[in-house]
């Protein structure tokens, strides 16, 4: 077997193992309801994490996504509350803005050769600041179209629901997989992560790829913001604080290297589900105090990473 798939397989194996453990303790956790919730509740994170995966694959990072999610939500809510625009055209506008925002950051990163960490940190401040300027209060969204969208779901046996936003996330993952592994753009993304000088010498269009990757991440953050606004029917400038760190954690748990150039989109999906599983487990348990919640989340995170490393290490040794 090709060793590059090892981290991915390890992640999947650990996820299945963890789910089995949860199930043995709380049989309810295998109900379609919980599985459906897992998809719905983590849709916004999954979508953002897919965008983040592309950025991380190039060796970059995008800290702005949480703020962009909040901004998009507020933007949509403000427009829907104050104009008669149809939500779909508002969505298009929001996606346009977030994509351009990402592209702008990508452009700055490339032309001014500044570290992505800092450029996107400034972007994070800026997007959240813009959200504040639009409205500090949270604005409810009461458009009929939203109700229609929220009523789109498939009931699965056992009271579970596959909601629209869950479906959007799955579609995003599929698109992400195709884009990363089956297009030239995808190979350029991996190439950038392999080393900038070599990528340049091999004729990778560095400028275009960098800008596109951050634009893509901006687009995904915008989409995630739309999904988030459907999820909460509101726009709130303090929403989604720290989502970027959750997304990074999900991407890395999914087996992607932060130094770039190595990782899989499916891994990110699993990473997101693992994060969701940890939370669900803690809620099902329901006995932890606020502080123990944090400690246990940290501990489980550590366990997952350790198990994954261990599994990769053991199997790669077994091969020789």
């Amino acid at each position: 077997m090709n060793p590059r798939y090892l981290p991915l397989l390890a992640t999947i194996a650990i996820f299945i193992l963890a789910y089995a453990l949860c199930y043995s303790q709380y049989p309810n956790m295998l109900s379609t309801r919980v599985v459906g919730n897992l998809l719905t509740d983590n849709a916004y994170l999954g979508i953002a994490a897919i965008g983040m995966t592309f950025v991380i694959l190039t060796g970059g990072i995008d800290l702005s996504i949480g703020s962009v999610i909040a901004f998009t939500g507020v933007f949509i809510a403000v427009l829907l509350a104050n104009t008669s625009m149809h939500p779909l055209s508002v969505f298009a506008l929001a996606l346009l803005i977030s994509t351009c925002f990402g592209a702008l950051m990508g452009g700055i990163i490339h032309t001014l050769e500044m570290p992505p960490f800092i450029v996107t940190l400034a972007g994070m401040f800026l997007a959240r600041g813009m959200a504040f300027v639009l409205s500090t209060e949270s604005i409810p969204i009461t458009h009929d179209f939203y109700d229609t969208l929220q009523d789109v779901f498939f009931r699965v046996p056992g009271k579970g629901r596959l909601t629209l936003i869950g479906i959007i996330m799955i579609v995003t993952v599929i698109v992400g997989v195709v884009l990363a592994h089956r297009t030239r753009f995808g190979s350029y993304v991996y190439a950038l992560g392999g080393g900038l000088p070599a990528a340049k010498l091999m004729g990778v269009p560095v400028a275009r790829t960098t800008v596109c990757v951050y634009a893509l991440s901006g687009f995904m953050a915008g989409l995630s913001g739309i999904v988030f606004s459907m999820y909460t029917s509101a726009g709130y400038s303090l929403a989604a604080v720290g989502v970027e760190l959750d997304a990074i954690a999900a991407v890395v748990i999914g087996g992607t290297l932060l130094t770039g150039g190595s990782g899989f989109m499916i891994g990110t999906l699993i990473g997101v589900l693992i994060m969701g599983l940890i939370q669900t487990y803690i809620i099902f348990d329901g006995t932890l105090s606020s502080w123990w919640t944090k400690i246990v989340i940290g501990g489980l995170l550590f366990t997952f990473i350790l198990l994954q490393r261990g599994l990769v290490w053991v199997t790669s040794r077994a091969r020789i």
Binding site: F132, S138, P140, Y231, S289
Partner: protein, 297 residues
């Protein structure tokens, strides 16, 4: 058979909230309720997840301290569908009131108004320039307490807010921002009163005022909200003047309601307002401090 009740708490960002959590746990224990506690770490999305998990587990009732007013319709509907009563604690939501059983809250705007009215009465017609320490930008207590206070002083043209900046509800920021207020307003000589959206910021600001060589409580009047123990210490030392209580015991009334409902199906009113009591130096601060100290603040 014991009831299982899920409690989705916002987080543990302040002493007040820790006290609310402690009291809720205590009450549940006393009544033999199995409390499922979920800390959302200040994130609405985590609260929604928690609610969904509670529903999936089939709890008997849900207590929700919503981090923000909007965005609950969908998940509350799911709860309703599953016939699980939901009671809101300490803040309300924008959803139709058919979706929840009742809300046990104080009135945030009212709290601000009480503080403002106290100050207006205290200065009694003298000119007074006020600096304001806001809570976290965008959070509902910050918005409502600001509005309430402005309403409270609206009829008094001698009162005016000259500076207003966020102190993020924390002592450190409260102190830092107060330092800059003092610098900016002629070393503090122009400031007559401080209004802080919570006691922690006030406690920080009091230190800043002292370090600048002024006397909090007399050179600069200090009024704040929450009534946490530490502000009573300051009050006893004459460094703070007034605070408006936000009681951390929201769960008590909520459990009462649930018990009544379980017994004979009585439905409570849609809003159970807790008292917003004003404490001043006249209320024997040390005694209150001793009383409150053990409540888990």
């Amino acid at each position: 058979n014991a009831q299982t009740i899920g409690f989705s708490q916002i987080g543990s960002e302040s002493g007040w909230r820790a006290a609310e959590t402690t009291l809720t746990r205590q009450q549940a224990k006393d009544r033999g309720i199995d409390l499922k506690f979920a800390d959302a770490q200040q994130k609405q999305e985590n609260q929604i997840k928690a609610l969904r998990s509670f529903i999936a587990q089939g709890v008997d009732a849900i207590l929700l301290a919503p981090v923000v007013a909007t965005g609950w319709d969908q998940v509350l509907e799911e709860a309703k569908e599953a016939e699980i009563p939901v009671i809101l604690l300490d803040r309300t939501v924008d959803a139709p009131d058919s979706l929840y059983m009742t809300a046990v809250t104080s009135d945030l705007v009212h709290e601000g108004r009480v503080a403002g009215e106290w100050l207006a009465a205290e200065v009694a017609g003298k000119d007074c320039k006020i600096v304001e320490l806001q809570g976290t930008t965008g959070s509902s207590p910050a918005i409502d307490r600001k509005n309430g206070f402005e309403q409270g002083i609206a009829d008094h043209s001698n009162l005016s807010i000259i500076r207003s900046q966020t102190g993020d509800f924390t002592r450190t920021k409260g102190k830092e921002v107060m330092e800059s207020f003092l610098k900016a307003e002629n070393g503090g000589k122009d400031i007559c009163a401080l209004y802080a959206h919570n006691d922690d910021m006030a406690v920080g600001a009091i230190q800043a005022i002292k370090e600048a060589g002024l006397k909090p409580g007399s050179d600069i009047l200090v009024v704040s909200i929450d009534a946490v123990p530490d502000i009573f210490l300051a009050m006893a030392a004459g460094e703070a003047n007034a605070t408006v209580e936000l009681t951390p015991n929201m769960a008590g009334p909520a459990f009462d309601v649930l018990e009544a409902f379980a017994k004979d199906g009585t439905l409570p009113p849609k809003w159970i307002q807790t008292e917003s009591r004003l404490y001043t130096a006249a209320d024997d601060p040390m005694a209150v401090y001793e009383l409150k100290k053990s409540l888990g603040y």
